[in-house]
């Protein structure tokens, strides 16, 4: 693979002398990039000049943060690497939230940033920022390229690092003089990453131990995270659940990896997860974690988490093993490859008493809301959306109550169907994410289930959807509050609603002003009609649902409590 530029025996042809900008664009295309997101600026002008007639579908957001979320959601929806370009200084700084979002949820994004001329670096030049310094904690890897000869190799390395192992964002900072400098590029400079190794194949002995533990278990639970989706292992996990006969709960990011229509589905677990999932996890004798990381929103109080269970943990990241929870049988490697091996050794077991118990819990503690209410219940909007889209839409979300209701009441059946900021919890993610997902999947119905406060943060990107004719849909569950904050204030701060109220614009008017379609829905009886109109719309469309203002998300494991100490179960039982 390795060869130094200009040392091959073939004479250097005119066409292999390129500028840095040309090398970047050529290497992007070589890496299979046909779509990218970006915002121009001073020091990236040479690069944008090369992009002027490059065969790349280019989406220009209204703000770099939005662009970074778009690239992230594009990656989540397509399984490919999302690419974002920004200028130096403020442009690069605006990527931070987007990179951190992608980092926490292990999403492959390559960000290219311009930098001031090499000789100005460190001089507080105009639009200079220490981009690699600022973004180091929020990227899997980053670097600055100071020699044009290193550009092609670095871009190749960036794609490799972003997309392999535990995926994540990679940033390359490129001073403008490097982008205009020339060198010979024959497209053959290989990667040089002595410190980067990815273990994909799981240890055979560990896999056999895991299979034996599964075969022995009376009360197993399969706990599936976003890693299964990024490893494209959903088919294998479904086959495992079927062959070994296992109940399956997923994290927020794992939704869609298992068909929620199946009786074995325990739906989502955690702070606002299903009571039946939380009970089953707490009572299981074997927890089989695949591509999940025992986040605090999943485990509740760690000391009392799974008191009687052995733990199998399948993950590509060795650092995830025994980080939060002691693991008995770790298997490090690619989830798809490992589960395929595991499948050969597991046996079917009926586990009648266990499944009976689970069925009873499911019956008793199903997600419910007051259907008789005269107001629009936010859960009703999501449920109606799930029904009208036949559970086939790609759903993006904001963060907070809207996100939890989307997770609880939309029935996910396929991987890459829910696109949500799980780890970082980035408000404002929903709209740009919908745009990125729609770019990746032009024929899919993409709906952002959002909150008013989340939508407020990035609604400027509606103009982007209009510019590129992206028929995204937005359902704003508008309660006039930062709903989840208000819920916590109601429950834990004596209903002192400190700074959790915003005066909102009329979203339908905003949508129309931006060239999209705007609908207001303030009557419960109009909800089905409004959703139908929205889904039939060929333009970007925003529906402002004026929902019940003080609705809470139930059940809820209060912070610091055990996973099975849930509030709100009495409310669910009353609603049977």
């Amino acid at each position: 693979m390795k060869s130094k530029p200009g040392t091959s025996s073939e004479p250097i042809s005119e066409s292999s002398i390129k500028t840095g900008a040309q090398i970047i664009v050529d290497t992007l295309i070589e890496q299979g990039v046909d779509t990218m997101f970006g915002y121009t600026g001073g020091v990236v002008l040479p690069l944008f000049d090369r992009l002027y007639d490059a065969p790349i579908n280019f989406i220009n957001p209204r703000h770099e943060q939005g662009g970074c979320h778009m690239a992230d959601a594009y990656a989540r929806a397509s399984g490919k690497v999302g690419v974002m370009v920004a200028t130096s200084g403020p442009g690069a700084c605006n990527l931070v939230t987007g990179l951190a979002t992608a980092m926490m949820d292990s999403v492959p994004v390559v960000a290219l940033t311009g930098q001031v001329r090499t000789e100005l670096i460190g001089n507080d030049a105009f639009q200079e920022a220490d981009t690699t310094g600022i973004t180091r904690p929020v990227t899997k890897y980053n670097c600055i390229v100071k020699r044009v000869e290193d550009l092609a190799r670095t871009v190749r390395e960036a794609f490799h690092i972003a997309s392999t192992g535990r995926p994540g964002p990679v940033l390359i900072d490129i001073p403008v003089d490097v982008a205009v400098a020339t060198c010979c590029d024959d497209g053959a400079v290989g990667m040089d990453l002595p410190g980067y190794r990815v273990r994909t194949k799981g240890n055979a002995r560990q896999i056999s131990m895991a299979a034996a533990a599964i075969n022995r278990s009376e009360k197993p639970v399969l706990y599936v995270g976003g890693g299964v989706i990024s490893a494209n292992a959903s088919e294998e996990v479904r086959a495992l659940a079927e062959k070994a006969h296992l109940p399956v709960t997923t994290t927020l990011l794992g939704l869609g990896s298992y068909d929620q229509g199946k009786p074995e589905s325990l739906d989502m677990l955690g702070m606002h997860g299903a009571a039946y999932a939380n009970y089953a996890v707490q009572e299981c004798d074997l927890l089989i974690a695949i591509g999940a990381r025992f986040d605090d929103r999943v485990t509740g109080k760690i000391k009392t988490f799974i008191p009687n269970a052995k733990v199998i943990h399948i993950d590509i990241d060795p650092a995830s093993i025994s980080k939060n929870v002691r693991v008995d049988i770790p298997v490090v490697g690619d989830a798809r490859a490992i589960v395929a091996e595991l499948l050969k050794e597991v046996e079917y077991r009926e586990r009648k008493p266990w499944f009976k118990k689970i069925a009873d819990w499911k019956e008793k503690f199903a997600f419910r809301y007051d259907r008789e209410a005269s107001t629009i219940k936010p859960q009703y909007v999501v449920e109606e959306l799930s029904n009208q889209t036949a559970s086939e839409a790609i759903i993006t979300t904001g963060v907070g109550q809207n996100q939890m209701w989307a997770a609880q009441f939309y029935r996910f059946t396929k991987p890459r169907q829910l696109i949500s900021s799980g780890g970082l919890g980035t408000m404002g993610y929903g709209l740009p994410a919908a745009i990125g997902a729609q770019v990746a999947r032009p024929d899919a119905t993409v709906v952002d289930v959002d909150g008013d406060s989340s939508f407020n943060m990035t609604m400027t990107e509606l103009a982007t959807a209009v510019q590129y004719n992206l028929p995204i849909k937005v359902c704003i569950l508008n309660n006039g509050y930062m709903g989840m904050v208000r819920q916590w204030q109601e429950l834990f701060f004596n209903k002192r609603y400190s700074k959790s109220y915003l005066s909102n614009p009329d979203y339908a008017t905003v949508a129309r002003a931006m060239g999209a379609v705007g609908i207001t829905c303030d009557e419960k009886s109009d909800v089905p009609k409004a959703i139908k109109a929205m889904l039939e719309e060929k333009k970007p469309c925003v529906v402002d649902f004026k929902v019940e203002r003080e609705e809470n998300v139930w059940p809820m494991v209060p912070a610091g409590k055990s996973l099975d100490e849930m509030d709100g179960l009495d409310i669910l039982e009353r609603l049977i």
Partner: protein, 162 residues
């Protein structure tokens, strides 16, 4: 417990910042950190002394290994190693105490590297405990300043020092 962790890293800008940043971000404590070149110009060696229980140190090791330009990580706990610190110390040494101090230095196999009118500068190397002991015995004379490297270490072939 104290662990000596040795990390072979690519000799690239930003690697030290990445390692130090990871420690800060994850709340790990570094007791000492030494970076130096190796026999291979493309690689540097970082030697870190970390205090923590086994769970913490396991995370430190894994999180270090996860950093892309970190090539290899070893935890020397539980194996025979040669571990050394180097110290320069400037000690107050008036004429009437000088011979006493010089004999102390000799006991510790230290080396006088500078003699002024009021102070002597001494170079001492050895295991950390020896360095600490030397500081303790010098303290009554008055220590002007201390510069220490932190620990470097290498596993040994034989069980004990010859």
């Amino acid at each position: 417990m104290k662990h000596i962790i040795s990390a072979l890293v690519e000799n690239k800008p930003g690697v030290l910042a990445h390692v130090a940043g990871m420690f800060a971000a994850r709340g790990f404590n570094i007791d000492s950190l030494v970076v130096g070149r190796t026999e291979d110009p493309k690689l540097s060696r970082m030697t870190l002394v970390v205090i923590g229980d086994d769970k913490v140190v396991e995370q430190v090791r894994k999180q270090l290994a996860k950093i892309v330009p970190v090539v290899k990580v070893q935890d020397f706990a539980g194996q025979p190693v040669v571990a050394r610190d180097l110290m320069l110390v400037s000690i107050s040494a008036p004429a009437d105490k000088r011979s006493e101090i010089l004999s102390l230095i000799e006991t510790f196999k230290g080396k006088v590297v500078d003699i002024g009118q009021k102070f002597v500068m001494v170079e001492v190397s050895g295991p950390e405990a020896k360095i600490e002991a030397f500081i303790d015995v010098c303290r009554p004379y008055g220590i002007k300043s201390v510069a220490r490297t932190g620990t470097i270490a290498m596993p040994r072939q034989t069980k004990t020092e010859p």
